[in-house]
Amino acid sequence: MEVIQEKTQNGSAASEVDVHRREFLKKLGSGVFASLLMPILFKDNFAALADEALAQVDLPELPEPSPEEDPLVRMMRDLQRALKKPLEQRKWTMVIDLRKCVGCHACTVSCIAENKLPPGVMYRPVIEEEVGEYPNVHRRFIPRPCMQCENPPCTPVCPVNATYKRPDGVVVIDYNRCIGCRYCLTACPYNARTFDWGEYYTEDVGFLGLQPYEQVDTMEYGLDWKRPEGRSPVGNARKCHFCLHRIEKGLLPMCVVSCIGRATFFGDANDPDSLVSELIAQPNVMRLKEELGTRPKVYYLM
């Protein structure tokens, strides 16, 4: 863990240097000009910083395998196996068993808590459908994370290359580069991208005012984002990233661990022994909007 802290400290030291330089340029009397030149003056290093911050150390110790173990433990074991492989050989995949989903929205809420999502930003809503006519109705629940498409429609439209598919298949956003044009929001067939409007749930709540829990930095992609200071990701597109900051440390995505019915599964589809590989080989598997050629890496069991 010390290694990570040192690395993030390096990261913040570098950004302190940036701040000093920016102050200097502002003193020259052209803050606007300086921020226009930001990307040229300072190395644009989101990918490098993120890789560095996500570099895995000290994976959690797991008990001996046993037939009665919780699927979460098995998936963590799968995860550790995958993490030993190089990035490009992993294929992070999610499987959601719709028969087990009870519509509790715990995944939605835990995702909001994990990533400190503000109003307007939601990575994993649970769609509720009512089937039949009253009083003979059933309810159906479909959690909808980002599909992490093999062939994502959102990345080619980005004018600044700020969003891209990582070698392990996760579609990420470089918050430092994104200009906030929201073209990717329109291009996603699953409405999986949302925009950070710079608001807070509690800012207008009577005498209590802005609550401390909303003023915590968000740690997406393993980096320290000073959102409460009005900086990125405010004004950026935001999306589900399979909790990269967790999986790279050997932890399962927050929606997977918080699922009370064990309806959400996660793992490496390139590993034939993983639980998700077993599940997506079933005949009752389905993906959303396959006709668009997006090839989602989120599968549904029906």
Partner: protein
């Protein structure tokens, strides 16, 4: 002689423009949360105005090529007005899309981290290339008149003309000026010819920003960029009709026939536009794909039905056509037709952008997302969006009137002897 613009135009557009500038500063400080956009309707009034003004610019420019490239001599006197409108409209469009960015100060990223698969990135290159061509062509056509104005004026005006004439020598005689101007016209024809594919790229490409989005069946159609282009020509010709009727020389014996020719072009483009729209609706409804007809239903019968029926059908189609049929002899009414078209096309632009967002890409998502305004599948422009939009447009009108007052908008052959 150039007709002076009435004082009230300067004053009202100047005051409204100042409010607009203040609103822009406010938007830059407070951030994009002054809009009532949501993550499900991420593009709204500002984007609609952006494509409106890009269309107005491309339309005006393409209209000018009718004169300078295709030799439509009967409307030649409106040529410089068309080019100047093209310049101002493009800058306005870019201001709108810039204001719409979540990080306006990062816009240079588009050039630094240019992504060749993004239509939007290609468009930003097109806009740059296009504005260079239009400015160069405008300058070529005006340079000898500017040189004469430089020699005749004093004070700050002289400095201004010195700057914009950029060292153009003054013609020694009116014959020499004629000869030089003919040479400029030849260059304008070449620049105009280069400009045609560029302008098509500018606005057809702006349409393609939407047309390549396969997630939205309403946009995802090859006819979409074509509709963009044709309605651009409609708005350009409508603007020329209005501007020339308003600003042209009433003592000129050709004045009325020029306005009528302009109106004829306007109605011709309008008819083609109407045909394309009809095709779009009929094919869409016949296909019956739910995501598609939900959008068409929203346009025709949704909460904002009046944008289609009053704006698009009334102002942009019915009023101009009726005037053209019954009041063709009156320049005043033709000007009204032009203005009605220019304003009506705004509704067309709103209906091209916003209705595509009213239907959830995944059915059932609305039951979750409609619980918060920043996620909801509904949208109406906020007061802040209205003030910034109208204020910025007023500011551009103010700048346009200033430029109109200073620049030689019409050929000044008869004034050569006086200098």
């Amino acid at each position: 002689m150039k007709k002076p613009i009435p004082k009230w135009v300067y004053v009202s557009s100047g005051v409204a423009g100042l409010i607009g500038l203040a609103a822009l500063v406010w938007r830059l400080i407070v951030g994009i949360k002054i809009t009532w956009l949501s993550s499900s309707v991420p593009w709204g009034a500002w984007v609609a105005f952006y494509i409106y003004f890009i269309g107005l610019s491309a339309g005006s420019f393409l209209f000018s090529t009718l004169i300078y490239v295709f030799g439509q001599k009967n409307v030649e006197k409106a040529g410089r007005l068309a080019l100047l409108s093209a310049v101002f409209a493009l800058v306005t469009g870019l201001a709108f899309v810039w204001m719409d960015l979540g990080h306006p100060w990062r816009f240079l990223n588009v050039f630094i981290h240019w992504n060749y698969t993004s239509v939007l990135a290609w468009e930003s290159l097109f806009y740059i290339f296009y504005i260079v061509i239009v400015l160069l062509e405008t300058w070529l056509l005006m340079r000898y008149d500017l040189a004469e104005l430089r020699d005749r004026s004093t004070g700050w005006r002289k400095s201004f003309y010195q700057l914009v004439a950029a060292g153009t020598p003054t013609p020694r005689s009116s014959e020499e000026k004629q000869r030089l101007y003919r040479r400029s016209l030849r260059w304008a024809a070449i620049l105009g010819a280069i400009g045609i594919p560029v302008a098509i790229g500018v606005h057809g490409g702006t349409g393609a920003i939407f047309a390549v989005v396969k997630a939205r069946p309403y946009w995802y159609s090859p006819i979409f960029p074509i509709i963009f282009l044709v309605s651009a020509l409609v708005s350009g010709a409508a603007l020329m009709t209005f501007l020339y009727a308003f600003l042209g020389d009433r003592n000129d014996p050709e004045y009325k026939s020029i306005v009528q020719s302009l109106a004829t072009w306007f109605i011709l483009f309008l008819s083609i536009d109407l045909l394309l729209m009809l095709a779009e609706f009929l094919v869409g409804y016949y296909g019956g794909i739910p995501d598609h007809i939900k959008v068409l239903d929203a346009i025709l019968f949704g909460p904002y039905w009046y944008v289609f029926w009053f704006g698009q059908m009334g102002l942009a189609v019915l009023v101009p056509i009726l005037i053209y049929i019954f009041k063709r002899d009156s320049v005043f009414w033709l000007a009204v037709a032009g203005l009605s078209g220019v304003i009506g096309i705004i509704s067309v632009r709103f209906n091209l952008v916003i209705p595509a967002f009213v239907t959830p890409p995944i059915p059932g998502l609305e039951h979750v997302f409609d619980n918060h305004p920043r996620l909801a599948f509904s949208y109406f422009p906020s007061p802040g969006e209205w003030v910034t939009s109208i204020g910025m447009i007023a500011f551009v009108i103010f700048l346009f009137t200033l430029a109109y007052g200073l620049l030689p908008m019409f050929e000044q052959n008869n004034e050569v002897g006086a200098s």
